[in-house]
């Protein structure tokens, strides 16, 4: 295993009339990584871990992290279509998807709409399915800091990543991202009533990863994903909340790499 850090470049790609910034790094089979509702923090060790084995693409969701806002966009399924367009435009096939939290919902929608297209599907703490007993934590009712903190088991991990008192510029970015999330996932909040019925055709093998202490999306949602996806298994990561790959980058990096590279 190489330990060299990947070189990352950002390319602006035009999709659905919007300029979409796509971060690209590493070499190997293509891996599309879809970020959380809070955006994609720069320089995540998890991205580097993946780039040692794959060509990693991390687009900024339309309207997130300062990327151009599509005023017309109304649903998470719209985002999934935008990414299908992106992959077709780049001529990429045999792609594996890694969806993180909210990005996991987008990945699941993509897999449902192209059930034979993807090599592997990894969902990490994915939104998108309504919990039967619990609730998905509603950021509309809490401050940015409280919401993101709720996604970590270890408060120290939050402090190391964002600072104990995150800078105002980051709060602005979280607010902007939250607004875009409201624009496309306000009601029902953070799930689709139809998605569970559409996942049964997905042919790719799937790995569902969940933090043992996920306080944002109940683990029962992970169990349900693992049930409705025909070739899925659930892996629970200790010492992690919702932002599993930020709290345990090595563990999740290894899980994903082994799962995606296995023949």
């Amino acid at each position: 295993m190489s330990t060299t850090e990947a070189t990352w470049t950002t390319e602006s790609v035009r999709v659905a009339g919007q300029a979409l910034p796509v971060l690209k790094g590493g070499a190997g089979d293509p891996l599309l990584v879809l970020h959380h509702d809070i955006g994609s923090p720069a320089g995540l060790p998890f991205y580097d871990a993946l780039a040692r084995h794959f060509t990693v693409y991390v687009p900024s969701h339309p309207g997130y992290d300062g990327s151009e806002r599509p005023e017309w966009m109304r649903s998470v399924r719209d985002v999934a279509v935008v990414y299908q367009w992106l992959l077709a435009d780049r001529g990429l096939s045999g792609v594996s998807l890694v969806g993180l939290g909210f990005g996991g919902w987008i990945a699941a929608e993509m897999a449902a709409m192209s059930p034979g297209a993807f090599r592997r599907l990894v969902l990490v703490g994915a939104m998108g399915i309504k919990p039967a007993a619990g609730e998905i934590l509603d950021q509309a009712l809490m401050s940015y800091v409280d919401y993101v903190r709720a996604g970590f088991e270890d408060a120290g991990a939050f402090d190391r990543l964002f600072g104990a008192e995150p800078p105002t510029s980051l709060l602005e970015q979280w607010d902007l991202n939250r607004e875009m999330t409201f624009r496309i996932a306000w009601k029902p909040y953070m799930y689709s009533q139809t998605l569970p019925h559409l996942l049964g055709g997905v042919q790719a093998r799937a790995l569902v990863v969940w933090g043992r202490r996920d306080r944002i999306v109940p683990i029962e949602c992970g169990e349900r994903y693992a049930r409705v996806l025909p070739r899925a298994r659930l892996a629970v990561v200790e010492g992690a909340g919702h932002f599993v790959e930020m709290e345990q980058p090595d563990v999740v990096g290894k899980l994903v790499t082994e799962f995606v590279t296995a023949s």
Partner: protein
């Protein structure tokens, strides 16, 4: 001048300590603290106050609505408007207003308002608001489309009032196969629309473009002057001259027989403990997408406690800035004169009491206002040239060249 009586209809019987303990008096503050026995008493007291306000000479009664909070018991202003349409005879029923984005069916609102207008004999003034941030959360409406929904619902309602049906509506947020309400307003071309606000420039600009009077809600005099500068500049761009008939103001003003009593009761304007819409979590009062993007930086700092709430000044400051006026009729009049001279509104609402002020004291206040304050204000209004939209026969909107007085229908004429 058009002089209105207003109360927030406070649910004063809730335990204040519970609000302080919880840290908020809105949205998630449990309704187990709501006492319907006291609620029933209070609703009926407020109704009695409205009737007294008409008896002592107010020109209008201003109503509003809020949700999930003790500071305002009206969950639907059209309910009280309907009651007043029947039990009052003369006053204008001024709704400030219906929160348009909260409506999933604006045509239904257009029908309700038309009914109120007809039942009241053409006394409706139909103001519209965006609704507070908490209202979006309380009703499950997407805050990110608040302004779009406001503008589209407004357009649809005005069309439902003025265009002959049936027609079809295919909008961004509203789609209707058939718009053909069999209740249309008595007033022609349609009831007057006034737009209240406190914070957002966008709303002032929008109101000025429509030529709708803007009602500044208890802003400090300097801030109010800035509102009129902006309004007038937009009016000039739109091709008309802004004047008193475009300007309204809601004044918190309590009068009593003695200064001491007035000041004691004026303290109740601070009863909600936060800004005047209560003690609130900033994220609830301004969910993402609800406020102007130009305020994003200030807002996020406020949301995490790095910036003070700009709307929660101390009582002493609000008294100094005349956002709150209290005294005997004799001592409040010079202050009201200053307000009229400096900001020149023709529409003036009196928010006369709040919180735990007793019904008897509120009625004394209403009576003193009617007998001793309003007549003096009318004289001042004449002297200063503050003609209300009714007195000036101002057009109801930018779409009309002349006021409705010139084109009164035979039915309306018969009612006067």
């Amino acid at each position: 001048m058009h002089l209105m009586y207003f109360t927030e209809q406070p649910m004063s019987a809730y335990p204040e300590d519970a609000g302080l303990d919880f840290g908020a008096t809105a949205l998630m503050f449990s309704n187990r603290h709501f006492d319907p026995v006291a609620g029933s008493r209070l609703y009926n007291e407020y109704l009695e106050h409205y009737r007294l306000a008409e008896d002592v000479g107010f020109d209008g009664i201003m109503l509003n609505e809020h949700h999930n909070a003790p500071f305002c018991m009206q969950a639907k202003c059209n309910v009280f408007a309907s009651i007043l349409a029947a039990v009052t005879k003369r006053v204008k029923i001024v709704l400030l207003g219906n929160p348009l984005p909260l409506a999933d069916n604006p045509v239904r609102l257009a029908e309700e308002l038309a009914m109120i207008d007809m039942i009241s004999g053409g006394r409706l003034v139909s103001g519209f608001v965006r609704g507070g941030g908490q209202e979006q959360l309380a009703t499950g409406v997407n805050p990110a489309y608040n302004r779009e929904r406001f503008e589209e619902a407004h357009e649809l309602i005005v069309r439902a009032w003025t265009d002959t049906g049936p027609f079809r509506w295919e909008g961004t947020h509203y789609q209707h196969r058939v718009v053909n309400p069999w209740a249309i307003p008595l007033q022609k071309p349609h009831p007057r629309v006034w737009i209240p606000g406190v914070l957002s420039k966008e709303t002032i600009i929008w109101a000025a473009r429509q030529r709708y009077p803007y009602i500044a809600l208890s802003t400090a005099i300097d801030a109010t002057k800035k509102i009129w500068q902006l309004y007038d500049s937009v009016a000039a761009e739109a091709g008309y001259t802004g004047g008193p008939e475009n300007r309204g103001y809601l004044q918190r003003c309590h009068v009593a027989e003695t200064e001491e009593k007035a000041m004691e009761n004026a303290r109740q304007f601070m009863w909600m403990q936060g800004e005047f819409t209560g003690l609130a979590h900033p994220v609830w009062s301004s969910p993402s997408g609800y406020f102007s993007p130009s305020n994003r930086r200030a807002f996020v700092e406020f949301a995490v406690g790095r910036r003070a709430n700009p709307r929660a000044a101390a009582l002493e400051d609000q008294l100094r800035d005349q956002q709150i006026i209290a005294g005997t009729p004799k001592t409040v009049l010079p202050k009201l004169r200053r307000l009229l001279e400096e900001t020149r509104p023709s529409i003036l609402g009196f928010w006369a009491s709040d919180g735990f002020v007793s019904s008897a004291d509120t009625m004394t206040c209403i009576r003193l206002l009617g007998q001793e304050v309003l007549p003096a204000l009318r004289e001042m209004g004449k002297e200063l040239g503050l003609a209300s939209p009714f007195e000036a026969n101002a057009p109801v909107s930018i779409k009309y060249a002349e006021g409705p007085g010139a084109r009164r229908t035979p039915q309306q004429a018969a009612l006067r």
